[in-house]
Amino acid sequence: MERPEAKLAEFGTAVREALATESSSAEEIRLARAGFLDHFAARSGTRGGWASLASARRWRILLLAGAAAAGAVLLWTWTARPVTFQVGTSGALVQTGDLVNGAPQGLVPLRFSEGSSVILHEDARLRVLATDTKGARLLIEDGTVDASIASARIGKKHWSFEAGPFQVLVTGTRFTLSYQAKDQSFGLATHEGQVVVSGACLSAPTPVAAGNRLDLTCLARRTPAPQTASLMALPVPAREGSASPPAVGKPARSAQTWRELLAAGRLQEAVHAAERSDFDRVCQTASAKDLLALADAARLFTRVSKAVTALRVLRQRFPASAEASTAAFALGRIAYEQKRAYPEAVDWFATYLREQPSGPLHGDGVGRLMEARLRAGDQSGAHFDAEQYLRRFPEGPYASEARGILAK
């Protein structure tokens, strides 16, 4: 009997289409994603993660069963352990460097193992850049946070917050910090204890004690907060894109190269250091990977022109590399998101896709190209991209927008 392959193939196609209609892949994918990433984080044994904490508890039980001297060893082990942290009431796992966003439905707590906590308001975005045995270093990218640093062993704690060009050194206190990235406005109200604020537009480190408030911006001459400004810094006017480093800093820190700072995750300082070392010259000597990282750091700290410089130099110096294509993609993002230059974004995303037709950012590239073309007024181009996208990524993150374009 002849095998009815053609009929079954047609039948199978119909089943496949029916399955696609029957269930929402996007929902299934979203549901599984969080669980998988949590598992991955736990499996990776994050330095300072909760998995290592569980291990510490096992050690503690063993040691308590031993001699008093072993107890001392345990104490030493515990105090030498880096601070760990978790996010939200469910205790979601986070790694250093991850972006933590505030949530529209309420405050989001970030709790540290030694008792400190940082509460994110709805508009807040922060990253825990690093932890050590005595504290943590946090980057407030935007928005408002309430910080409460545990008072035990205050003098030994190393807590610092960075917000744009400002740095807050904490010595055990409660305070509210706000930072608006769009205009680099900084506000800090200390409720208990004292903090020290420094920054590129402060002539000297400025202590802010309990009951006081400090409002600053590096872009304007002066942004006072009249009602509570009992301690008001006098910001030095700074040029946009000023290369000035923070006013405070250990002498050793200034000697570190931008590459070392970048590797240590001190992104803002790395950008400052690169600017001090002549940014253009740095771009001519850095590796392709370093240029990508430097551009990313510059973009993060609103040095958009520096980011563009680094990415363009990368493409000139390493024209056939994968990094050059990634730079094209990054230039597209900058053009789209920060310059609102949609035709330019179209060019860059198209460049990436031409250079890396099977690259890791292919799906994102087609989706962004479609969006950029739409906003640039190229309806037929966006229509073409939407078809391309849905053909290859029918359940991808741009699928609903693609279908909307095709429906018009």
Partner: protein, 203 residues
């Protein structure tokens, strides 16, 4: 709420970053391949409320075995074979627990679904009821070849068997499926008139 740092790099760099435990790489890896794995699981199992759990399991198994993957170009096929392994294990588990049905649309939250035509729903139920009667090897061969639309070599690789064995399984599956379908008016009608229901849906 959490957005891992974006991973930037090519496939080889992605593989190295996964082995090193880069969280952004895990997210990138998942985002690149989740749709493909979901489609494979669906082809094997039908619309199923356990797909998210199985999807997660596939990626966890993939990460656990990422050290063994040598050829980055084969990552898609490798994930397909893991998905088939996971789907087979789930079918066997359900077979042992006879109170569970292979296709259970009534358990799926309707709020999470688009509303298909009732004919499509009924047809899918019938399709997976028939596939549920097939031996598991034949079922997987049929699902990958016809529903997933894979080539014979790719389907053989996903089933971790030889091309000749896959062809034998497929031949048996075709025969058994058509025989069983002939006993079910919805499927018989559908097979005879091709994609009649899709034509109707678009009109």
């Amino acid at each position: 709420m959490l957005t891992p740092l974006t991973f930037i790099g090519d496939e080889q760099a992605l593989l190295q970053a996964l082995r090193a435990g880069h969280p952004g790489a895990a997210a990138a890896f998942y985002d690149q391949h989740a749709a493909h794995v979901t489609r494979t699981l669906r082809s094997a199992l039908g619309a199923d409320e356990e797909i998210p759990d199985l999807l997660q399991e596939v990626f966890i198994r993939a990460i656990d075995g990422i050290g063994k993957l040598r050829e980055i170009d084969r990552i898609g096929g490798w994930l397909t074979s893991i998905a088939i392994f996971v789907a087979r294990a789930r079918i066997r588990l359900r077979a042992r627990r006879s109170w569970l049905r292979t296709f259970s649309p009534e358990q799926v939250d309707p709020a999470h679904q688009e509303q298909p035509s009732s004919e499509a729903r009924a047809a899918l139920r019938e399709v997976y009821a028939v596939l549920g009667q097939l031996p598991i090897d034949e079922r997987m061969a049929f699902a990958l070849r016809y529903i997933e639309g894979m080539t014979l070599p790719d389907a053989a690789e996903a089933c971790e068997t030889s091309l000749a064995t896959l062809k034998r399984r497929l031949s048996r599956a075709e025969k058994q499926f058509l025989e069983a379908a002939s006993q079910r008016p919805v499927l018989e009608h559908w097979l005879e008139e091709g994609t009649r229901w899709n034509v109707q849906k678009r009109s």
